[in-house]
Assembly symmetry: C2
């Protein structure tokens, strides 16, 4: 974490960021332990190819995407460009890892002749992933390619931020749906007796919810927003002066 | 909707509020139609007692709670007291209706000797409902009982707002889990062939997600916040002047 966090009033934020990482790593560890211990571990060609799916989705779409959202709160005094590159890098990793996870489950279904895309898990999941791809393309065009004006970026940013966090939330909901399906498919009789695997899977669900809650709390605290660096502030003030006349939201 | 909405810059907000109501009522109608047409309708004593559960939870914990959150955006020029009473009234209705829904499912399980509280749906649901009760008690003490100081209210409000919206989101996730369970219990063989009931249930899931997204978007747009009335502003300014010295978040 950036040392400079301590130099300004970020209150509980450093502790909550640390808590989010503890919860996120715990969720990953529980996912790995559950799939290794109860579901036969991992392989790409065998019956365990399915298990690659939950692991990759929790790592890519939950943990790395969650951390990508935190970047702008944690690295407060780096240049915006450096912070954006880190944000983009985490999202490239998330995209590749979650693509591997999605390919794993479709290949597994095909080999086992299991129908695709009928469950609510698959519907919410595919909508979420399609919007994630759209978010990726639009975000790349708007914030990485040169030539996009400051005004357009400023208007697009709230949508990008809102969609980004919404996608994390709906990914977590999709994970919970997947966990429920997996329990009812794999241990349909035992699940209602709360066996260790059921307790572990339910606890994983609560860990994922907690991860989303902590990240959501950090992101929605106004006063923990990344303050603009002096040079960004100057640019933003120039822009405000230029547009004040036709910007009805300015007081 | 308040006429005065059109007098200030609320942009797309009135349309999004209308959209949230259309989506919310559609979700309620689809829930009712699904349970009536495919699950035998409603009764308190018979086998259909279960069906009271999803209907009450969607009406109470999703629709009414969602609308209770919108109250402070929609009624912008009423007194804060009147708006708070409306917020509280919607939450009283939500609390009673969802309690009926929870009693329905526990009574049904008891009669049918179905185990309780083993699934992720029940775990996330009971945590959400317990926090909702806590939120109710704390919110009532802080914002309705006389004698709580302005400073304490101001510090508590962000937690109340954050927890309120988080509870709506986790309620929606709980509904999706319940829908998935119900499909896998009721039509385990047919679900994978995407029968009309499966399509209806999945669509209901997407409607509930859409309801949460629209409400979330309305609530997170800074510029659509309820502006303080002149008398509230005066009070708030006095408070700021009094506390500026020891309030490190003020610039």
């Amino acid at each position: 974490m950036d040392d400079s966090l301590t130099r300004e009033n970020t209150g509980l934020m450093p502790y909550l960021v640390a808590a989010s990482q503890v919860v996120g790593v715990a969720a990953l560890a529980v996912t790995g332990a559950w799939l290794s211990h109860y579901r036969g571990g991992f392989s790409w060609d065998g019956a365990e190819q399915f298990n690659v799916h939950p692991l990759c989705m929790v790592l890519g779409m939950v943990f790395l995407c969650g951390d990508a959202l935190l970047v702008f709160r944690v690295f407060r005094h780096e240049t915006k460009r450096a912070t954006k590159i880190l944000h983009g890098t985490l999202h490239i990793m998330a995209l590749i890892i979650s693509l591997v996870g999605i390919i794993a489950v479709f290949q597994f279904h095909k080999k086992k002749k299991i129908p695709d895309m009928y469950s609510l898990h698959s519907w919410v999941g595919i909508v979420t992933f399609s919007l994630y791809i759209m978010q990726w393309i639009l975000g790349f065009i708007m914030f990485f390619l040169p030539g996009v004006g400051y005004a357009l970026k400023s208007r697009f940013k709230p949508f990008h931020v809102f969609l980004g966090f919404s996608l994390l939330v709906s990914t977590i909901a999709t994970c919970l749906l997947g966990l429920t399906e997996k329990m009812l498919f794999s241990i349909p009789e035992e699940y209602s007796k709360l066996p260790p695997e059921g307790i572990l899977a339910n606890s994983l669900g609560l860990l994922l919810v907690t991860f989303g809650l902590v990240i959501g709390y950090i992101l929605t605290r106004e006063e923990w927003r990344r303050p603009p660096l002096p040079e960004e502030q100057a640019l933003s003030m120039d822009f405000k002066t230029l547009t004040q006349g036709d910007s009805p939201t300015e007081p």
